[in-house]
Structure formats: C-alpha cells, structure tokens
C-alpha cells in the first residue's frame, strides 16, 4: 500500500484528471450499456405481455 491518505489516492500524483477521466468513462459506459440492454429486454417482454393480454381479452369478448 503506497497511498498515505485518501486525498493522496484521489490526487493520483497530479494525474487525477487523466486517471479518473479514463476509469470514470469506463465505469459510466459499462454501467449504462448493460442498463440499456436490460431496458431493451424488458421493453420487448412488456410489449409481448400486453399483446398477449389484448389477444386474451379479444378472445373472451368474442366468445361471450
């Protein structure tokens, strides 16, 4: 362990902007991308579930 304090760690020996700019960009994009992929999946699922419900309602009103 070669950091003397938390402030020392975040200062990154004067390279804070560059180091945290790189790691931060990776972190942000690697959080956003899975969320977007996840959103796409839930959206398709929701649409399909709605369609299914609509079909069932159609069917019920048709037979009654």
């Amino acid at each position: 362990m070669h950091w003397n304090s938390v402030g020392d760690f975040f200062a990154m020996g004067g390279y804070a902007l560059y180091v945290w700019g790189s790691f931060g960009a990776c972190l942000v994009l690697m959080v956003v991308e899975p969320l977007l992929a996840r959103k796409r999946l839930t959206e398709v699922r929701d649409t399909l579930a709605r369609e299914r419900l609509a079909d069932e309602l159609d069917h019920q009103s048709g037979t009654s």
Partner: protein, 258 residues
Amino acid sequence: MGNHGGLEGGIGVKQSIIHWFKYASPQSFYPLAGRMIPWFWAAAAVFGIAGLWISFFVAPTDAQQGEGYRIIFVHVPASWMSMFIYLVMAFWAGLGLALNTRVSGMMAQALAPTGALMAALSLWTGAFWGKPMWGTWWVWDARLTSELILFFLYLGFMALQAAIDDPRRADKAGAILALVGVVNIPIIYFSVKWWNTLHQGSTINLNKAPSMAQTMLWGMLLMALGFWMYSIAVALTRVRAIILERERHTEWVKHALE
C-alpha cells in the same frame, strides 16, 4: 460385431452433434442465455475487483510516468477486447452464413455495440493517456489510428444492419461485411504501421510505455478477463432481447413468457 460398434459410435456422434445444434435454435438458446448471464456477471465482478485492486494498490508507481500510467489497466484491456470481439463477431457471422443457424446472426448483431463501446473506450483512454504524457490528446500513432478505423468498421456494421428491415437479409449482409472486414483488418493494420514508420511524425508507442513489471501484467490480465466476462454478459442480455423481438409471433415465445 465391428460393424455394429461402428454404427453405434456413429449414432453417438450424431446425437452429440444434434445435442449441440439444439442450442443453435433461438427457442433453447433463450433460456440457456438467461441461466448463464448471472454467472458471467459474477465472474466479471470478481475479476474486475481483483484487477482494480492490483491496478491501484499493488502495482508500484512507474518511474517515468508516475501514477499516470495506471490508465494502462483500462486502455489495454479495452483495446484487446475491441479487436477480439470483432473476431468473435466475424466467427458467428461466418458460422451463420455457412450453417444457416439463426442464433449466429443474432449473436453477431448483439456483439457489435459492445465491440464499438470497447473501441470507443480504447480511443478515449488513449487520449487521456496521451495528454499528460505527450502533451496532446491525439497522436497519429499506428495503434490509435488502427483503433479508430476499427471503430469505423463497427459503425459501418451496425449502420448496415440497422438500415435493412428484413432480419434474415440484415444477418447475411452483415456477415459478408464482417468477413470482408476481418480479411482487411490485418492489411489495414500493416499499412497504417508502414505509413507511421515512414512519416516518423510520432516516435511514440503506447504499448512500450512502462517497463512491464510482473504485477502490472497481472493487473492487465485480470482487468482483461473482467472486460471479457462483462462483454459476454451484456451480449447475452442483448441477444435475448433480439431473440424475443424477432420471434415474437412464434408459439414458444408466448409460452416462454407465461
């Protein structure tokens, strides 16, 4: 008797091939992918945390570049993954063309955005490394330039697939483009390298940055493994969405969502 054994062996091989082909159908791949995703997320987290620990707390300060060199722990894995994903994408695309399996094309389509993201991260972190080390955000270094072209290839692939409405045609056209790209990548890489050495404009080489200590190598490898597992997890999530989008009118989708 020998004949009989041969027949049985033949059936065994055939069954194992059928067994594998089973997963080539969207119907069985969809739940399989769903079961695999949490494991890849767990692996990504384990490798990522171990990698980050080494990159910030174990790897020593570099004599020449101080703490700034730590960017290497995301830059190099992102560059590796951007190239590797293109190869994997072209592999799936080629498989789809050769065997006409539907999941292959969907896998290729699901991998492209993640590959483009890795190329973008590689360029971004490359710029953030270049600025403190050489005083400029961008150098026409052979590796950075090749990475930029790779990024363009990803964009072209995604734009082509987005522009074609019929998914089967989109898969096949994308597959041809990915294969043409794979043939061209080494040619592009060597031509850019040749161009770079001839012009002697920048004598900088990103990969020769610090004298590679053993711990640095371990940090990079662990981070690369983490990025790899992450890419698989995201691609599988995306491929599940693509499967549902394309197969929405089939019976199995209706039953799968019950």
